[in-house]
């Protein structure tokens, strides 16, 4: 039995229950896509890239009244402890759907009828919270690509470990803890766009977790905005801030 909260109420990596891991973000890291981003949340490392709006391929997926948004969440074989087999696992297929639905919520698809926007999320290293870090990066990449959105989505996971509701759970907390609840929000609209739960929480605990997540997500959106600002200054002024 792994003990996840010590006598001082601190977590195995020394964090307080409501503390995020260190986050690093950068926009515009890949040249050949129309928008891109890189994110690190603790040991989790993810690239995201966006292509479009562009012509729909294959053609029969085209929609007359709005753009099609496609999304692929994919992990590198070496991103996890046990080498992941090549090809898409069922988990990756599900998360691709969940991420797509969350992003479709905020992107103004009606502005681009008969077009397609592709979002690719590539997990280079997984240390917990890959779907939430992934959607944060994807949203930043969409902004970098200049795709109009109702809000920039940001995300984190809350969890329950040793009976305590904690923010931004890491891999060990995910594995040995009692619950993992990834949440993505459109923070300015105060609305959830992605929500899942694996594990047991009472409705009260979920409410507490959502509040915790809500605050953190506002902070993460600030980091996104800063990343965009850095990217903008570099491009505008030609020098790093």
């Amino acid at each position: 039995m792994v003990r996840l909260i010590d006598e001082n109420g601190l977590r195995i990596d020394g964090r307080r229950p409501d503390q995020l891991r260190p986050i690093k973000m950068e926009a515009g890291v890949l040249e050949k896509s129309d928008g891109s981003a890189y994110i690190e949340v603790g040991g989790t490392r993810i690239y995201a890239a966006v292509f479009g709006p562009r012509e729909v391929h294959p053609k029969h997926l085209e929609l007359p009244d709005r753009a099609v948004l496609n999304c692929r969440y994919h992990m590198a074989s070496f991103s996890v402890d046990e080498r992941k087999p090549l090809g898409m696992t069922r988990r990756e297929i599900e998360l691709s759907k969940v991420l797509r639905e969350a992003l479709e919520t905020v992107v103004f698809l009606e502005e681009f009828p008969r077009m397609m926007i592709d979002v690719f999320v590539e997990v280079v290293q997984a240390d917990g919270g890959t779907r939430t870090a992934g959607i944060t990066a994807a949203s930043l990449a969409l902004a970098d690509a200049g795709i109009p959105m109702a809000d920039m989505v940001a995300a984190t996971a809350v969890g329950k470990v040793d009976g305590v509701i904690v923010l931004d759970i890491n891999e060990a907390e995910d594995k040995y803890g009692q619950a993992d609840m990834p949440v993505a929000m459109a923070p300015r609209l105060g609305s959830i766009v992605l929500l899942q739960l694996n594990g047991m929480m009472t409705t009260e605990e979920i409410e507490k977790g959502l509040d915790m997540a809500g605050n953190a997500i506002k902070h993460i959106q600030q980091l996104q905005i800063e990343a965009l600002r850095r990217r903008y200054h570099i491009e505008a002024g030609g020098e790093e801030v």
């Binding site: 496609n70 759907k97 969940v98 639905e101 479709e104 919520t105 959830i192 929480m201 409705t203």
Partner: protein, 280 residues
């Protein structure tokens, strides 16, 4: 690769959406139900004797067949003293114009994983009591859900169907003799369950909530949430599905509704199962 679904929302849908919303405000549904009313549940168990457990559960016209098959195999190396179970779900093309033949698409994969989540995270199946020889031989339970007729809400119906198949099913008994595992012919033991998970699907249109949506509603809801509850009304699984905003306060309301509806559904399931098992 997940693609925006064709025809998920069209122009005509907007008119329907308004109509459904206006009805909801009056406390009604397009099929005559109240907003928080489930359709009629029917349960038939023991429908496939070759399975170790089976059930057809209907929610209105939605009809899902689950079969449970038990094998003996090796445990996972990191869980040597636990049995193993696997959930698979298929959207059979005979069930709906919107399902296609071929390998499971992302909807079927999501359904499998949500049913799995409801069972696994609620610790419904007592995996530790499924070890036959610790570290070596364990029961492996395959739970396969087939959608036979699709009139909306495959999530809740599948969970009910899987639970009904497990509760009405049984395991062949094994004896260990001289280090060898052998079947005790004719003897069977119940599948050990620790809780009875039930999921509740709640749709949202603007500020109104509804449960157990039918396809015409699924097509126009702003978004929806599937919540799985244990017998103690603890939430064990959540899945927001359908693109759209879910305001936090409405989510909280939905979870409270889900708690009540899950108790109601579980009651009806147990009642039906009682009848069904008597008949069987």
């Amino acid at each position: 690769m997940s693609y925006t679904a064709i025809g998920e929302r069209g122009y005509a849908a907007k008119i329907t959406r308004n109509r459904i919303y206006e009805l909801l405000r009056e406390g009604r549904r397009i099929d005559g139900r109240e907003p928080l009313e489930y359709r009629r549940i029917t349960v038939k168990t023991g429908v496939v004797e070759k399975a170790d457990g089976s059930a057809i559960v209907s929610l209105g016209s939605t009809k899902i067949l689950t079969g449970v098959k038990v094998e003996v195999g090796s445990p996972y190396p990191d869980r040597p003293n636990e049995g193993v179970f696997t959930v698979n779900a298929e959207l059979l093309p005979l069930a709906s114009k919107s399902f296609e033949a071929g390998p499971p698409d992302e909807r079927a994969v999501e359904l499998s994983r949500v049913v799995d989540r409801c069972l696994r995270e609620s610790h419904a199946i007592d995996l530790e009591s499924l070890a036959i020889v610790k570290g070596e031989k364990v029961y492996m339970i395959y739970i396969d859900c087939y959608v036979l007729d699709y009139d909306g809400n495959y999530f809740d119906t599948s969970v009910l169907s899987a639970v009904a198949a497990l509760m009405s099913g049984s395991l062949p008994k094994y004896r260990v003799a001289d280090g060898k595992v052998e079947k005790v012919e004719g003897e069977r033991i119940p599948i050990p369950l620790k809780t009875i998970p039930v999921s509740v699907t709640i749709g949202l249109i603007k500020d109104m909530l509804l449960v157990d949506p039918i396809p015409i509603e699924e097509n126009v809801v702003d978004t929806s949430i599937i919540a799985g509850y244990t017998s103690d009304s603890v939430v064990a699984a959540l899945q927001k599905n359908t693109p759209g905003f879910m305001p936090v306060d409405l989510l909280k309301k939905a979870l409270e509704i889900g708690k009540l509806k899950s108790q109601e559904l579980r009651g009806k399931l147990l009642e039906s199962l009682g009848h069904a098992l008597e008949k069987q």
